[in-house]
């Protein structure tokens, strides 16, 4: 299983904040395609400039393999405090 977290405006676009995916997709790209498949607005928002992904609290650039239990977060441009 993988756990997906959305932050900021991505949560508003998706209509959810957290979602389990079982089984865990093999890669970050596959996971992104899966959560965007039933929500074109979310699929587009995930490709917006400034959106970053973290896997198990580490920022990831490009694609990466996911292991079972992975926590994947998608974060839009950070607003600062």
């Amino acid at each position: 299983m993988a756990r997906v977290l959305l932050f900021g405006r991505l949560r508003d676009v998706a209509g959810w904040r957290e979602r389990p995916l079982d089984p865990a997709p093999a890669t970050l790209a596959a996971l992104k395609a899966l959560i965007g498949a039933d929500n074109p607005a979310l699929a587009a928002a995930l490709e917006a400039p400034g959106v970053q992904a973290a896997v198990n609290l580490i920022l990831v650039r490009g694609d990466c393999a996911l292991t079972a239990g992975a926590e994947v977060a998608f974060m839009p441009t950070m607003s600062g405090g």
């Binding site: 977290l5 932050f7 900021g8 405006r9 973290a54 609290l57 977060a73 974060m75 839009p76 441009t77 950070m78 607003s79 600062g80 405090g81």
Partner: protein, 153 residues
């Protein structure tokens, strides 16, 4: 120390605690940031963090500030969740041997926090809610520290 809290905090008590027992620090600088009302246009904020990740990213910058400005200690206390206009959002304190390092370390940390820290801010006003991103001024302020020099030019 990096602390995120959804509770109001007592900045005076934090300053007293932070300043205690510092035989070698000649300077403690504190900055308290408040939620601005924007003349009624911003009634409240909702500040979202990613627990674990947000503290980690801020901690990494605090480590950079500590070595760059020879700081003895850093405290960053940051609110999350709903915050009303006039309430404190952030408290940054730095301790150093001399005031210049403490001032600059605090300034550097605030510029980072305002422009690049992993928070997502929603502002509620009479016209509804809107996500807020760093202003040009926030980005320019943060850019002052990218020159490589210890002090901005």
């Amino acid at each position: 120390m990096i602390v995120l809290t959804d509770q109001a905090f007592d900045a005076g008590a934090e300053l007293t605690r932070f300043s205690q027992g510092r035989g070698e620090s000649g300077a403690v600088v504190s900055f308290l940031g408040l939620a601005r009302g924007e003349a009624g246009q911003a009634v409240a904020l909702d500040l979202e963090a990613y627990p674990g990740f947000t503290e980690g990213e801020i901690g990494a910058i605090a480590a950079v500030a500590t070595s760059r400005f020879c700081l003895h200690d850093v405290l960053i206390l940051h609110r999350t969740g709903p915050i009303a206009a006039g309430e404190a959002i952030v408290l940054v304190m730095t301790a150093a041997a001399h005031r210049r390092e403490a001032f600059e370390g605090c300034d550097f940390l605030m510029d980072y926090l305002k422009s690049r820290a992993p928070f997502w801010k929603k502002e509620y006003g009479p016209a509804g809610a809107a996500w807020v991103e760093p202003t040009g001024r926030d980005l320019a302020d943060a850019g002052r520290w990218d020159q490589g020099a210890r002090r901005p030019s």
